[in-house]
């Protein structure tokens, strides 16, 4: 809980610092003002860094206040749901082109539905998976002419 509260501003500080440090690594331009490409990123990352530090201080002040949303994150299977969705998404990215649209989408949507909606409603899950995969495939690739693998 506290970790998230401090983690967010810390993350912002880290992002700003990474941008700031890599801004200096941008090669100098050979044309026009050699530092032209640098000003914006450097200015912005300093701006963001300062604000993130202010944000951190604000969070530290209110560290003990409860935040229902953060609690929600650690309750029940929320974290698991998010993690599984991301994992399935990554797998989807890898199988999308080799397996083709239909097979990979049926697998992806099917797994996700079974996990989120539960095994009990397996009939509905299967029907939804198959029908929606076909409808989107038909709609995108046939009606709209989008080239899908």
């Amino acid at each position: 809980m506290k970790a998230v509260k401090i983690g967010m501003p810390l993350l912002m500080i880290i992002i700003a610092s990474v941008f700031l440090i890599s801004s200096f690594a941008i090669p100098r331009a050979n044309l026009g003002n050699p530092n032209g490409p640098l000003y914006f990123p450097i200015g912005l990352s300093i701006f963001m860094l300062v604000l993130s530090i202010i944000y951190l201080i604000n969070e530290l002040k209110t560290l003990h206040e409860r935040n229902g949303k953060i609690q929600g994150l650690f309750e029940g299977r929320t974290l698991k749901l998010i993690a599984v969705t991301i994992a399935l998404g990554v797998i989807y990215a890898f199988i999308f082109e080799p397996f083709g649209f239909l097979i990979s989408t049926i697998l992806f949507l099917g797994c996700l539905l079974f996990y989120v909606n539960g095994w009990k409603k397996w009939k509905a899950n299967i029907i939804v998976t198959i029908s929606f995969s076909f409808i989107t495939w038909y709609g995108f690739s046939e009606l709209l002419g989008v080239s899908l693998p």
Binding site: M12, L31, G32, G72, V90, A93, V146
Partner: protein, 501 residues
């Protein structure tokens, strides 16, 4: 006048009415789907238009364009996931309305607002096309920079009470927009030698990630909790009271959106944001904005549809595309042997007037289509959450694929989904992030071009009437809410004192 009537005759041919309706319907559908926007829809239709009469083709493509403006807000209202940049403003009050059980009213008013905005803009087109095209030419790099600055400051100023977070989100968005090859110098910035990143991060991926995927993740927090009592979506038409509140905002936003739409490169996202924030500042009840104020939905809807009509002006009068969609339309028209430009009005007035008149018919058709769809679309809310969310995730992935035809973007999509989740949990405003990514690249380039052309002198930003107006508006947009707040507090305190005395 002859040309005007001739144009009407062409539009009223059954075949052309058919194309208007088809285009509008298709536009509504693609507008609703995440990622698929009017630009993609027009592009994939190009092979079909090869065999068509050029007039029918341009009517069809235009109908898709403004049809998408109608459709874009549907998913903003129902699911808090805008279909593209112009529909972001519709999430601010549209989604809260839906949560209060007013999804039907919200969709109906937004359709009517779009209709009014569209029709007013067509009138604007008829009478003002040429002077406005010339006005748009006055916008140089410094004016564009200031226009974008105004948009950003207007959007950040909406996040009263969490300004620090608003500015952090904006800065992050602007930094993300610097990723890629710097156009002015050809230098690679933050690309880490990944060719995929050299053209920068597509803002639509960020929209889909932060809004659609982020929203689903966020809803996972409560998915297993006791079912929220089912909201009744009884009404599918708005009340008299709602209409009274929206009437003037709709009428005011139409010309604003229209003019912003005429400026090449500005487009619907900027138009809808500007009218949202100006309505909030004009409103007597600004505190209701963001909580489901009906005028907060109606104003940007009127504005973005008017902008889509305005964007046709530079295309038709000068052959210059003012937005991604009109750029694709230009390509398609050239293939058909029509070259929009200064000569089109003289060489082929019948076609131009047919297009303009088709926008009347198209908007009438669209308002009917969209109101008929309301009853159907509210059913989406009856879908069990556990089935709906996986489907949204799947649509988000496919929408992303159609943007770049590459699965590399899937990882970016998930990353932005997680970022969106934490922003929602930690109560960050999301619009500044997304808008900063949309305008950031152009903003920086225009700033530097302005300085290059003035040899480094900042005076260029004060050198024209337009610039000074924009600066004044920017300052007002940042400080007006603060001043008003102070003023209100003081007068409230004053009231208390008066009572106690």
């Amino acid at each position: 006048m002859d040309a005007f009537l001739q144009g009407f005759q062409i539009v009223l041919q059954p075949m052309n009415i058919f194309w208007v309706v088809i285009g509008g319907f298709l536009g509504t559908i693609v507008g609703m789907l995440p990622g698929l926007g009017p630009a993609t829809a027009v592009a994939v239709l190009i092979p079909i238009t090869f065999g068509m009469d050029p007039t029918s083709a341009i009517i069809l493509m235009a109908a898709i364009y403004y049809g998408a403006m109608y459709g874009g807000s549907r998913s903003s209202i129902l699911l808090n996931t805008p279909g593209d940049g112009s529909a972001i403003a519709a999430t601010f009050d549209g989604y809260p309305m839906a949560q209060k059980g007013q999804a039907g009213e919200a969709m109906a008013i937004s359709a009517v607002a779009s209709f009014i905005g569209g029709v007013l803009a067509v009138f604007g087109f008829i009478f003002l096309a040429k002077p406005l095209a010339n006005f748009a030419l006055k916008f140089g790099p410094s004016e564009y920079f200031l226009l974008m600055l105004l948009t950003l400051s207007a959007i950040v100023s909406l996040s009263i009470g969490k300004m620090v977070k608003g500015f952090i989100a904006m800065a992050l968005g602007l930094l993300i927009s610097t990723i890629g090859i710097d156009p002015q110098t050809g230098v690679h910035r933050f690309t880490m030698d990944i060719p995929h990143l050299s053209e920068g991060i597509e803002f639509l991926i960020v929209i889909i990630g932060v809004y659609a995927v982020g929203e689903v993740f966020y809803n996972f927090l409560t998915i297993d909790k006791v079912k929220k009592e089912k909201k009744k979506v009884g009404r599918i038409w708005f009340t008299k009271e709602q209409w009274k509140r929206s009437k003037w905002p709709i009428l005011r936003s139409a010309p604003l959106g229209f003019i912003v739409g005429v400026l090449p490169g500005a487009g619907g996202s900027i138009a809808s944001m500007m009218s949202y924030s100006s309505e909030k500042q004009l409103s007597k009840k600004p505190e209701e904005f963001g909580e489901g104020a009906v005028e907060g939905l109606a104003a940007p809807e009127s504005s973005n549809n008017a902008a889509s009509v305005g964007a046709m002006i530079p295309l038709l009068t000068m052959g210059i595309p003012g937005s991604g969609t009109t750029a694709v339309m230009l390509g398609a028209l050239i293939m058909l042997g029509v070259r929009p430009g200064p000569l089109l009005f003289e060489n082929d007035p019948g076609m131009v007037w047919a297009l303009i008149n088709s926008m009347f018919i198209g908007n009438i058709a669209l308002v009917i289509i969209n109101i008929l769809l309301v009853g159907l679309l509210v059913k989406i809310l009856d879908t069990p959450a556990k089935v709906l969310y996986p489907l949204i995730i799947m649509l988000a992935f496919i929408g992303t694929y159609t943007l770049s035809y590459s699965t590399v973007d899937y990882f970016l999509l998930l990353l932005f989904g997680v970022i969106g989740l934490f922003m929602k949990i930690m109560d960050f405003p999301i619009a500044p992030l997304v808008l900063a990514i949309i305008v950031g690249g152009d903003m920086e380039q225009n700033f530097r071009m302005a300085l290059t052309s003035s040899n480094g002198s900042l005076s260029i930003f004060f050198s024209s009437g337009i610039s000074i107006t924009l600066i004044v508006l920017t300052v007002l947009s940042l400080f007006y809410p603060i001043v008003i707040n102070r003023f209100k507090k003081r007068s409230r305190n004053g009231d208390k004192e008066a009572i106690s005395a």
